[in-house]
């Protein structure tokens, strides 16, 4: 037996022994995940046990080095663990932006002490991170951000405003893009900095969306003093001052990869099984076809496109494992996933007709179809709009010239 086959056998046995039955429901909704952080309260004993057992084994962040709380698995081993976990429908023991976005950037750009503090905090589920990128005047044109960060000798002084900060109200730290040089070309005056949300001068205001509920906030930074170092060899800035755009770009690739392959499509409101759902609500005609030919055609097309999309995720993952990295093609998956997700909920709204458009006395109920349908409009905007993805594909995949 090869080492990898042996590893698979071990992992399978470990999962069988350690993953509680309740955590094997394949639930991938945001509400069911273990997010961690100072304010975190486990939703069930099973969730707590699963998290603690995974933590002890380094499996909250399996591919990170052992010294930072991971299990030091190779790419192949991490893939096997993931396959075996999915084979028993187990939830991830811990799931948050620290793992999927900041972690990979710190692994690439952080000092040893930065990794020791922050990666370990993420791995142990102690610190929950939020992302301070967008500003009211810097959305798609992110590099035009204006939040000011001044060098005060022994500390940094930050003034400005961030927007669309997911879960800022329940996060512990924020990774932020700030402007440290207002005279340099816009991409060259940006710095990537790590800030404790408990710092004096930070205030947070949730944003109400058309869906009625959202994780998004506005984050105000008013004379926030940030130490230059959190310890020896542990600066608050990641990478070099004024070179934060490099770090930001690296992190955005991870974000797109995550968004492009993420779960909403496989949830209950995506384009999976639309036909069956439509038969229940619309019925069949005498010839056994859905009793609305135009709707039938739209559903068949959505299912066809969704089928091809799922295969493309599979193929690109297989290509990446064979050594041909996804690179800027992650923008294609992000575009396709977000547009398909929107189509799925649009079709469900049309299938249910006025039933789904009725909201009840307490407004749009959280988790309802209408709630999802409205919230999903954001999928093709957040993480880079569809149009920004098109710009990236044009330049980085197709090599088309700039104006």
């Amino acid at each position: 037996m090869s080492d990898l086959e042996e590893f698979r056998t071990e992992v399978r046995a470990w999962l069988q022994e350690n993953c509680p039955e309740e955590m094997r429901d394949g639930d991938i909704t945001a509400e069911s995940q273990c997010w961690g952080g100072r304010q975190w309260e486990f939703q069930s004993e099973a969730q707590k046990i699963w998290f603690e057992r995974a933590l002890a084994k380094g499996y909250t962040v399996p591919s990170w080095p052992k010294e930072y709380g991971g299990a030091g698995l190779s790419t192949e081993e991490a893939k096997i663990l993931d396959e075996e976990r999915q084979a028993i429908n187990a939830r991830k023991p811990l799931n948050n932006f620290g793992i999927s976005m900041l972690g990979p950037a710190l692994l690439a750009y952080g000092t040893h002490q930065q990794k020791a503090q922050h990666l370990t905090g993420i791995a142990r589920g102690e610190i929950r991170w939020c992302q301070g990128y967008s500003e009211p005047g810097a959305g798609s044109d992110l590099a035009s951000l204006k939040t000011k960060c001044e060098d005060m000798g022994d500390h940094w002084l930050i003034n400005g405003q961030k927007i669309w900060t997911s879960n800022a109200d329940i996060s512990d730290w924020i990774f932020c893009l700030v402007r440290t040089d207002f005279d340099a070309p816009k991409h060259h005056g940006i710095t990537f900095i790590l800030v404790d949300m408990a710092s004096e001068g930070i205030s947070v205001k949730p944003i109400v969306l058309i869906s009625g509920h959202s994780p998004f906030c506005e984050t105000f930074l008013d004379n926030v003093q940030v130490p230059k170092f959190y310890g020896e060899d542990n600066p608050s800035v990641v990478g070099e001052v004024n070179r934060g755009w490099d770090v930001a770009k690296n992190l955005l690739v991870h974000e797109r990869g995550m968004l492009g392959t993420m779960s909403p499509l496989r949830g209950t409101t995506g384009p999976e099984n639309l036909g069956k759902y439509a038969v229940e609500h619309v019925g069949l005609d005498a010839a056994g076809r859905l009793d609305d030919p135009a709707l039938r055609q739209r559903i068949a097309q959505a299912e066809l496109d969704n089928w091809a999309y799922n295969l493309t995720v599979e193929r690109m993952t297989d290509e990446a494992n064979a050594g041909n990295g996804l690179g800027a093609k992650s923008s294609m998956l992000k575009y396709a996933a977000s547009e398909l997700t929107k189509r799925g909920t649009e079709l469900r709204m049309d299938i249910e007709g006025t039933t789904a458009a009725t909201i009840g006395p307490n407004g749009i109920e959280y988790g309802s179809l209408a709630n999802n349908w409205l919230y999903n409009r954001a999928y093709s905007i957040l993480g880079g709009t569809t149009e920004v993805q098109f710009n990236i594909i044009s330049k980085r995949v197709l090599g088309l010239p700039s104006q």
Partner: protein
């Protein structure tokens, strides 16, 4: 199994790419088109392909084939799609070989598979009787007589029907037009007085034929597959055809898209490269994404045929639907993004546009296949 080519298949792809670029580029296709040879393809080229093992690409090695399966056939078809290569590959090596290998009797296999692999015998599949694909709408009759059958009726859009040595004809032995039951496949010699073949040149400059059969007597040995149960075999042959046609269209779409992006990088208007205009960039980015979706769909259908032939039908339909749509989009956008030069005969993109249209019509267009998907899914 990973959804990527293995090393052997990649080597086949490289070999096909090199050979076709040298021996059968688009210029060669133009020559065939302009000289209008009766065959509609170049016999010498076909002999060379057979020598390389392409004619028997899906045929088992025990019958003299190369045993590369449908992924192998798709790899070749994709490169042929890139070069617009005209050859009997599709009719003979995909349709004919699939029919005999999967549904033939031992005798039919012994008599035909080696000959197919050597490129010596050409096949054609005669299914459709009207202008739109409908494999159960069959009135072509095979009436019992003596110890065999008498065949009479007409078929249309029989690819390579004018050059085939053998015809596989879907005939009705019982039931009525529209029934899937009661169809039987017959394997007959094409060059007999009772069969009249009229070439019907198509808009893509490939040849097809109308076939009229009048009182052709055959014995029960001519039956391919089961009496009255030929629809299952027909479905299997069509599925293989749909997947390989998809691979061909995918090659055409990728080629024409590459030509188009090259043009966007070089053509200047208003003092700048037209590829710098967002109006074109975003359409190109959308199309590039769709092409990735198409490639996955094609590879999946070919792999399914190799792994579980009898259950690959729906996947092949989905692939044909997706590929038809994307290849049409790619060829339409190629013409539009090229502007005036795109509608000239001298420029190649129009040739791809025409070929993709005919390939999309063959064995069901995207509408036919999404309808089939919906029916199969119960809606």
């Amino acid at each position: 199994m990973p959804l990527i080519l293995n090393e052997e298949q990649e080597m086949l792809q490289d070999a096909a790419n090199g050979f076709l670029a040298e021996k059968a580029p688009v210029a060669a296709f133009r020559k065939v088109r302009d000289n209008k040879p009766a065959d509609g393809f170049c016999r010498e080229l076909w002999a060379e392909m057979a020598e390389m093992g392409w004619a028997g690409i899906i045929v088992d090695e025990s019958h003299g084939g190369s045993g590369f399966g449908y992924v192998g056939a798709g790899v070749l078809a994709e490169q042929m799609g890139r070069n617009l290569t005209a050859s009997p590959f599709f009719s003979t090596s995909v349709l004919g070989a699939t029919a005999i290998q999967h549904y033939g009797t031992q005798k039919q296999k012994d008599e035909n598979l080696a000959a197919i692999s050597r490129g010596e015998r050409l096949f054609a599949l005669a299914v459709d009787e009207g202008p739109r694909h409908n494999p159960s709408r069959i009135t072509f009759s095979a009436k019992p007589a003596g110890n065999g059958f008498v065949l009479s009726g007409s078929k249309t859009f029989v690819a390579d029907g004018h050059v085939a040595d053998k015809l596989i004809i879907a005939a009705r032995t019982s039931g009525v037009e529209g029934d899937a039951n009661g169809i039987t496949l017959f394997l007959v010699d094409a060059d007999v007085p009772q069969i009249e073949r009229e070439p019907t040149p198509m808009v893509d400059s490939r040849n097809a034929a109308n076939i009229n059969v009048d009182g052709l007597e055959v014995t029960g040995e001519a039956i391919l597959g089961e009496l009255d149960g030929g629809y299952a075999a027909l479905e299997g042959i069509l599925s293989a055809g749909r997947a390989v046609l998809s691979a061909e269209m995918s090659g055409s779409a990728q080629q024409v898209f590459g030509v188009t992006t090259d043009y966007l990088k070089e053509r200047e208007q208003f003092g700048q490269k037209i590829g710098s205009f967002q109006g074109l960039q975003h359409r190109a980015a959308h199309l590039a994404t769709e092409i990735e979706m198409m490639k996955s769909a094609v590879l999946k259908s070919l792999k399914d045929l190799d792994e579980d032939f009898d259950h690959a039908g729906i996947t092949c339909s989905l692939a044909k639907a997706k590929t038809g749509q994307v290849a049409q989009l790619a060829t339409k956008e190629a013409i539009q993004m090229h502007g005036g030069i795109g509608v000239t005969d001298e420029y190649d993109v129009g040739l791809y546009f025409k070929r993709v249209h005919v390939a999309q019509q063959m064995f069901g267009d995207a509408g036919f296949h999404s309808d089939r998907w919906a029916k199969n899914s119960g809606f």
